[in-house]
Symmetry: C2
């Protein structure tokens, strides 16, 4: 791309200004259609709906018993029971039966005594209209059942039908066209290759549109061809109420969205001061609302929610559901980006009775940070950000009870955490495991600062060659915790099967032709790498790629597999998952430190049961590279 071809952002508008622009487009016009009541679940009423008939439609018995004329029962009492004759003084009735004149009271079956087939006795008078459901007692014809702009629930359907309503005017579902763009974008049914990206955004949009009560018209991905994009957008405008152009909304040389809108209609906004989601475009073509939504998955999620779903809500006129918010204590500082209102994804946990909020990756490309998020923290523009320990308000994305039952694990990464998570999920006990991977040292610090319940670690004491216990002594002195024995796992050098060298010893690290990929500082494996280099007397400066740091075993394996590195150090299970060769260099102990106060909780007990279960052991055996001795044993410190 050439520099002079780039777009310039038109604006850097505040979110509230952007919403005002959205409101200025006439989205509030009421477009309605008839719907059968039975098909109206979750539709929005366009008019107030009044009952056509009364319910009950007639005076009816509210009980099983007999119907009588109350005036004739006045003299009944305990001492002098009153005898009544069937079909003359009374009739038997079931609940719901019609009460015809002259009857005007019902006596419950429990309160009468049968003398013979034709005669009964009562012991107290019947009150006027006792146990009779009057016509219209529930709903009177012409009474309001639901107001206009009400989202119809199951109970409303029941009431509408009971009130004799068969069909009603509802707001039309907005039709939203989604046009993914980009020459690199392929449909999910195609095989992905280098330079290609699977179109996941447009399918996520489709689901979001459906949930919000609209209809989605999804187009196949359109390549970066200005005329083709223009033609598709024009066509989409003709067929839909809202058009969403996926990607191409930024300021790159192939970002055509702005230009297409300018040519076909009116550009209203380019750039909102939010993060993620800045490169958003809003325009109007033939009085239809057209959006350019950024391509990064997380940006696209926020921009779509804030603008497209809001536009749909305006068209649907429905009462807006408010998101539930909770107060939580921040476990680390959140810097403000000053220029933007920022949406920070948050992991929540109930640690020692206190709800704590830990910020997740702020990268716009990290879909999994959205999948794993429990909530969102808004950091206002121009704010100072938030300090560690500050009480902040978090908008919930998950159920609070689910969060309360979640064991929060922060620390070193291992595939076995996924296996434990699954085992917990499959138990029908209230326990979930959430794990973040920040390396062993990160885990120790997270535990210390109250971010998590447990920290998986494998920290080698370079002096003693021992694992974990000395790290606890050193870093968690006076912190009330226990060590839970985990597994022994094999670390080694990973390399491709077709690699030019057959690797037989650690000496390969001295070969400057071989491209290495490293782990991040503070991770147990990085400590192992540096221990190894020191022991073997290898100078890190001579290692090609020593400065490239990746965060997990799997990312290292993945980099080796793809050829962007030749060797890396990690666990056998990661090498096997990527079908790599593996030279073992030693065993290490991968254990858990747990806060003492969590060990009494039900969720911790579930976790321990899973850790000690035969199923867990056999799943790890299948993966290879693990040995289980004393697994689940609690070591008091």
């Amino acid at each position: 791309m050439e520099k002079h071809e780039r777009n310039i952002y038109l604006d850097n508008k505040d979110l509230s200004e952007a919403i005002d622009i959205l409101k200025s487009i006439s989205l509030g016009e009421i477009r309605k259609e008839k719907a059968d009541v039975c098909d109206a679940l979750n539709r929005v009423s366009a008019e107030p709906i009044f009952a056509c008939v009364s319910s009950p439609f007639y005076n009816s018995s509210a009980m099983d018993g007999i119907c009588v004329c109350f005036e004739k029962t006045m003299d009944a009492n305990e001492k002098r029971p009153l005898r009544l004759k069937k079909n003359i003084d009374f009739e038997y009735v079931n609940t719901g039966d019609v009460i015809r004149q002259p009857f005007n009271g019902v006596i419950m079956i429990e309160d009468i005594v049968e003398i013979d087939e034709e005669t009964i006795e009562i012991y107290e008078p019947c009150s006027p209209w006792q146990h009779i459901r009057n016509i219209g007692e529930d709903i009177v014809a012409s009474e309001l059942i639901i107001p206009a702009f009400h989202k119809i629930r199951a109970v409303d359907i029941g009431a509408l039908l009971a009130g004799g309503v068969r069909e009603l005017e509802v707001i039309k579902r907005p039709v939203v066209a989604v046009v993914p763009t980009g020459s690199e974008i392929i449909d999910y049914t195609e095989d992905v290759d280098t330079g290609k990206i699977i179109d996941s955004n447009s399918r996520m949009f489709e689901a979001m549109i459906k949930e919000a009560g609209g209809e989605c018209e999804r187009y196949a991905p359109v390549r970066d061809d200005y005329e083709l994009i223009k033609k598709t957008v024009k066509e989409a405008c003709a067929k839909s109420d809202i058009v969403v152009i996926g990607a191409g909304s930024s300021a790159g040389s192939k970002d055509y969205t702005k230009k297409v809108i300018e040519e076909l209609g009116e550009l209203l906004l380019h750039g909102v001061s939010i993060k993620p989601g800045k490169p958003t475009v809003i325009g109007k073509i033939d009085n239809k609302c057209v959006f350019g939504i950024p391509g990064y998955p997380v940006s696209s999620y926020f921009a779509f929610n804030l603008f497209v779903i809001s536009a749909m809500d305006m068209m649907l006129h429905a009462e807006k559901k408010t998101k539930r918010k909770v107060k939580a204590v921040l476990t680390s500082r959140v810097y403000s980006s000053l220029k933007h209102l920022e949406f920070v994804r948050i992991k929540l946990g109930r640690v020692s009775g206190k709800l704590v909020a830990s910020p997740l990756s702020r990268g716009a490309g990290v879909t999994m940070s959205l999948v794993n998020a429990d909530g969102v923290l808004r950091v206002p523009k121009n704010s100072e950000g938030y300090e560690t320990g500050e009480l902040v308000e978090v908008e919930l994305l998950k159920d609070i009870q689910y969060i309360d039952n979640t064991l929060v694990s922060i620390g070193s990464h291992d595939v076995m955490l996924d296996i434990l998570n699954n085992r917990l999920h499959k138990q029908k006990r209230p326990a979930n495991l959430s794990s973040s991977h920040v390396g062993s040292m990160g885990g120790v610090l997270a535990l210390k600062s109250g971010k998590c319940h447990i920290a998986p670690i494998h920290l080698l004491d370079e002096k003693t060659g021992e694992y974990n216990l000395s790290a606890i002594e050193k870093y968690l002195n006076n912190f009330d915790c226990v060590l839970i024995k985990g597994v022994k796992r094999t670390q080694g050098i990973m390399y491709r099967k077709d690699f030019k060298h057959k690797i037989e010893s650690k000496e390969i690290l001295r070969n400057e032709d071989v491209v290495f990929v490293n782990r991040q500082k503070g991770s147990g494996t990085r400590i192992l790498v540096d221990y190894l280099l020191k022991n073997e007397d290898i100078d890190p400066k001579g290692i090609n790629g020593y400065r490239r740091e990746l965060n997990t075993h799997m990312m290292v394996a993945s980099a080796v597999k793809s050829g962007s590195a030749d060797i890396g150090i990690g666990v056998l299970s990661a090498a096997k998952a990527m079908d790599l060769e593996f030279l073992p260099i030693g065993y290490e102990e991968y254990d858990f430190i747990a806060r003492k106060d969590v060990t009494e909780s039900e969720m911790f007990k579930c976790f321990l049961d899973c850790l000690k279960s035969d199923e867990f052991e056999s799943e790890l055996k299948k993966l290879g590279g693990y040995s289980l001795e004393n697994t689940g044993q609690i070591v008091e410190i």
Copy 2:
């Protein structure tokens, strides 16, 4: 019906015992099927789902700019910029472009200066792997994306597709057969008549099943014929996972559910100590779960939710969403039924900053109490109930923000309240009106005890002939409130067009052949009736029907229309709605008392604007019988 044919309740089990019985039926077996990821919204994963490919699939540029070898940029600084040659030292890249070897760093377009077409300058070194999204940075192949038993959201669909997952194993949707029974039950498409009841329950169930993630097989209503019901249930068991028999679960002579289950399978429970919902039946036929659900709409709603939806949840294995709860102050005493766990429908309101809970009708037949409920209060079995002023926990059925923006009106009934409610809904301002009809005096007392914001009243001072002001003086002395002028409305005698008498004066009340229907004590209209009788010197004892009390104008009109009474007193709009004749007997003033502290609120201002609007006036004119003078005027007291 004959007494000896009646059933006897087998049990009166506690809810928890009933749930245990439900759990004993093997509903937890995992039944799965494949689903395309794009169709998987709201489905429940049957297995943990791992990524098939990494995302990004290759090392790619995270920015628009140039890619370089970082090693070659080390010497660049502000004083001595470094010149780089295109296609030799660097290449231009857009966000998402592949970074191929040997390049290992990206510099943002903003940080370079173009010298000519072939040359650029940089002013600082590039860090290793700067602005490069590593392969797998978001998702690494083989990484867990979602665990088993997870309800799939839009973001999950995005992440699954990005991870190369095209289809997945999901839990099969439970198929629930719904068999409405009762000879009086007709389909909603048929015209209702005396003795007939529109089948609304089975349609409400259908919607509830759909929302819970199941499929509904609905049968046409089956008449009260033992063999026919048995045959239908047998057929339904063969085709579905769960069978629900609507009505017939009680102990009446035509309540066949228990017997059918006993004959075809095993009866597990008959009768649960809950209210509403006691006559619930649980059984097992061919290892399928069969429920008998009571026929009263509100009972059916609670029983269906507690048992059928719970059974579906067990089959679906999904995490259960917890209902949000709030603490609120009770505005009137809730008696305990002692023998039952009772579910009391609650109207909530934020009065003077305090959330207050007012119990709604406890009748099992009052569908509208469910439609209008904001929440549910559980009154435990054997409890003492709750006192006025007690802080209770209410499970929310509506959004709390919606409740906070709701103006609570309790008092006299008039159709204009529905019109106001609609007008408020149609405004795009945050204000709703909820109105309960307990008569004028009930309204005054509700206002005084902090149950509501406003009370619509029409209270005649028998001595002065004046309306409302003297009532405020008498009952709301020292209470900080204002009077809002409402409307003048015409009261009169309503009668059928084909009635044998032409009614020309109040003298008709003396005619003992004419059946009257009265209003409840404490209602403004009842006061008017009694004032009239006194003035005309008519003895209430001589009036046929004086003791039959109905709660609203519409119910009186409805009783007259149906012939269960001949005359009643009410407003012209009610008579017109039922197409009745009307003899005016006078005007009255229908006003609102409002708490002083609510008059400053946004929702009250919206209410006042609606009251004073031309649209409101013209809608009332259309109804007839109203005159608007000073409407919306605030009278300070």
